[in-house]
Every structure is written in structure tokens, then in C-alpha cells.
Amino acid sequence: MTCTEFLAQLDDLLDDAVTTEMRADLREHLRGCEHCEVTLNTTRKTIEIYRSHEIYALPTDLRERLHAAIMARCKKGC
């Protein structure tokens, strides 16, 4: 397997959507390719960092204000 072929399967590997056979091939490639291992690990970490950090938080006071405005309009039939 080449690095290009590995890269084509990267998303499926990250998403646990590869077959057992493909997973074995990918692991075999990773054993001999530090670059692809770095790409896999850092791409996985990229996803997790964005999932675990709230970069656009909705502050409580703003949330309550928006919520009150939405529900007031809904009660009036919008």
C-alpha cells in the first residue's frame, strides 16, 4: 500500500468504517510509515480537539434573552 492509498482510506479508518481486511492492510502500512502514522494520529487529535472545546459558547444571559424572545413570538403565533 502506498501513502496515497493510505490517505484515501484515512477518513474511513478514523470513522471506524473499514473492513477487517482493509484495517489489516492499513496497519501493515503504518508499521513501516511514520509519516502516515503521524498524519493519522494528528488528524484524529484535530477532530477530538474541535469536539471537546466549545469555541463558540452561548453565554447564559444571551441564551435566556434569545430563548425568551423566541418563546414570546411563538406564543403569539410568530
Binding site: 496515497t4 509519516h35 469536539r51 463558540y56 441564551r63 434569545l66
Partner: protein, 272 residues
């Protein structure tokens, strides 16, 4: 660099959830049987404790549906109550999804005031059009579609009527092949305060082409499936997959500038 990949155990030995935990522990330079270093705290955790502590680290492709195929999603009952005149049920739906809708709107418009307006407009439009909701998709997915459209309309207004499409700026081939192959520090977040890290993450994702950014946000941050993301954005599944890969690789590349290991970068542009 971590050790070589460890051989996978057979499915009868390790569940997919356990396997993911093992991957994550390896990723953090530890193992389920050794102390885990997280946010400066050294602790021992059982698998159950781990999932309780980090519920958002659910494996990407195995985000569990709330209800099985034959079970009714709890939102369906709430929608039926709203249709029956129970406005308080809509209150529940708004509180359930307002943060997600605000985030999505902010990611697309990249403007706080616009995001506030989009959030209000999306929930009001959904309320007005609730009769049109067929129940073929999840209420959340339907709501996200409304929010995405409202966000694009808001951008169009800001750009004085110029059409704004989800396909903007995605023709470039940039980011389809990794170039900076430097490994990251073992726990790179620790080098920054929460505020600094949030700013880095914001700046980095704002630099993505919109068509990539939206796919990444819906699929990887908000947890929609590939099919739901495609349906929401009016894209084909292959288009979503292509954009997702490029978004992930471009973000990885950009974050490497901040998170690279101090051991020094590796060779650039290697292709076998």
C-alpha cells in the same frame, strides 16, 4: 512518536468502544492500565469512568442514535405535542438544540450578531413550518437545514445581495495531501490557556473554505452522519466525504503550526 501500532484484538476480545479507548489512551501516550494524563491531572480510570468523564469522545462513526430503528425518537413526541398546541414542548426543543444551532450559525456567518439573529429566525421558522416536517428525517437534522439556509441568507444580505453558496471556495486542491508532517507534542493543549486555545481553534477553522468548514462542523463537531450532512447541505455523499477529508487534513496542517513537537519537524512533502 508513539510506539508502533499495537495489533488489534479480535472482536470477541475487545469491543469497538474499548478499542477506541485503547486508541485514545495510546494517543495520549498512556494506556487504560496506566495513569492517564489529562488536563494536568494524573488519574486512573475504568472504561465506565472514562466514558462518563469524556462523553464527547464517542467514536466518530459510531455516534449512537438515541432510539433504535423501531423506537420513536423522543423529539417526535415533542413535535406532536407542539402540533397539538402545547407551546411548552417547543420550549423543550429550543433548549435542547439552541447551543448547537448558535454554533453552526456562528461557524457559517462568522459574526456574533448574525448568529444570534439566525438562531432566533431558525427556531421561529421551524415553529411556523412545523406542519411541513414530515418526520422522514430527525427534527434536529431538519432544524439544522433551516439554520444553514438562514445563515447563508444572512451572509448574502451582508454581501449586498451577492449569491452565497455552500460550494464557495472549494475548487482548490489545497490540503488534499499532507505537507507538514511534523508530529505534535504529546499534550499540546497544555501549552496554551483555554482562551488562547479557543482563539487558535477559531482562527484555524475560520481559515477553511466555507464549503469545507460547514461539512467539518456538521459532521465532526455536531455529530451528523455523512448522509445527514449531505442531505442538510444538498450535496452528494461522495462530495461530503471528499470535503470532509480535505477539511480534516487542512485543519491538521494548520494546527501543526501551533502544536508541533519541540523535537523538530520531519521531512516535508514525502510521498511514496
Amino acid at each position: 512518536m508513539s510506539d508502533s501500532p499495537q495489533p488489534l484484538a479480535g472482536p470477541s476480545e475487545v469491543t469497538p468502544e474499548e478499542e477506541t479507548v485503547h486508541k485514545l489512551f495510546r494517543w495520549f501516550g498512556s494506556s487504560p492500565h496506566r495513569p492517564l494524563h489529562w488536563s494536568g491531572t494524573v488519574r486512573r480510570m475504568s472504561l465506565r469512568d472514562f466514558w462518563t468523564k469524556f462523553p464527547k469522545l464517542t467514536p466518530m462513526a459510531t455516534i449512537q442514535p438515541i432510539a433504535g430503528e423501531n423506537e420513536q425518537h423522543p423529539d417526535v413526541a415533542l413535535v406532536e405535542r407542539v402540533r397539538g398546541g402545547d407551546v411548552s414542548a417547543y420550549d423543550t426543543l429550543v433548549r435542547k438544540y439552541d447551543r448547537q444551532i448558535f454554533r453552526i450559525a456562528q461557524h457559517i456567518t462568522q459574526n456574533r450578531e448574525d448568529a444570534e439573529d439566525v438562531m432566533q429566525d431558525a427556531f421561529l421558522k421551524a415553529y411556523e413550518k412545523l406542519e411541513q416536517f414530515q418526520g422522514n428525517s430527525k427534527f434536529y437534522t431538519w432544524l439544522v437545514r433551516i439554520a444553514v439556509n438562514e445563515s447563508l441568507m444572512r451572509l448574502r444580505k451582508r454581501r449586498t445581495g451577492r449569491m452565497v453558496s455552500i460550494d464557495e471556495d472549494v475548487e482548490t486542491e489545497e490540503g488534499s495531501v499532507p505537507r507538514d508532517l511534523a508530529d505534535w507534542a504529546p499534550d499540546p493543549e497544555q501549552n496554551y490557556t483555554q482562551a488562547e486555545l479557543a482563539e487558535i481553534l477559531r482562527k484555524t477553522i475560520q481559515g477553511l473554505p466555507q464549503g469545507f468548514r460547514v461539512v467539518f462542523v456538521l459532521r465532526d463537531v455536531e455529530g451528523l452522519s455523512t448522509e445527514e450532512t449531505a442531505e442538510t447541505l444538498g450535496l452528494s455523499v461522495p462530495a461530503v466525504k471528499s470535503r470532509l477529508l480535505r477539511a480534516r487534513l487542512q485543519l491538521r496542517e494548520r494546527l501543526t503550526r501551533y502544536f508541533r513537537s519541540k523535537k523538530g519537524p520531519k521531512e516535508m512533502g514525502v510521498e511514496k
